[in-house]
Symmetry: C2
Subunit: 83 residues, 2 copies
């Protein structure tokens, strides 16, 4: 399992409710891809959302977003180092 | 206090030891700026580092990096929403 940080752009105006709904929607399907979304953080002003997950591959992280009905990440980075 | 995600680019090849040293260096001075760095994640391949912190302003987050001798963040985003 690898940890990933994925980034969404263009989410200006996202609300706490929308972020929670997106998290819940992916949580409902993430197991099908072997992915677990740990946290997400959003900047409504710049429209940036960061999602921290663990999973087998970037493709699995992308598919988990798609199955949850959420927007496709614009970037997905493996982040093997953490402090 | 606001939560911030700052991003560094161009850190290709960063090691676990370098990430830990950077975190320790900012931890030693962060209180002077009222900032606390919670976590950092690094992708050595793309050279991207994400730092999650709490602090009074983006300027304080920038100064805490500088006082710690670390590289200046390329982006600093307030992330008031979190799940």
């Amino acid at each position: 399992m690898t940890r990933f940080m994925d980034v969404h752009h263009g989410m200006q105006g996202i609300t706490a409710e929308q972020l929670q709904q997106g998290h819940d929607a992916t949580a409902a399907v993430e197991a099908e891809e072997g992915v677990h979304f740990e946290h997400a953080w959003a900047d409504p002003e710049s429209g940036t959302v960061y999602c921290l997950s663990e999973g087998p591959s970037p493709e699995a992280v992308r598919r988990a977003h798609e199955r949850g009905g959420g927007p496709r990440p614009d970037e997905i980075h493996a982040v093997p180092l953490m402090v």
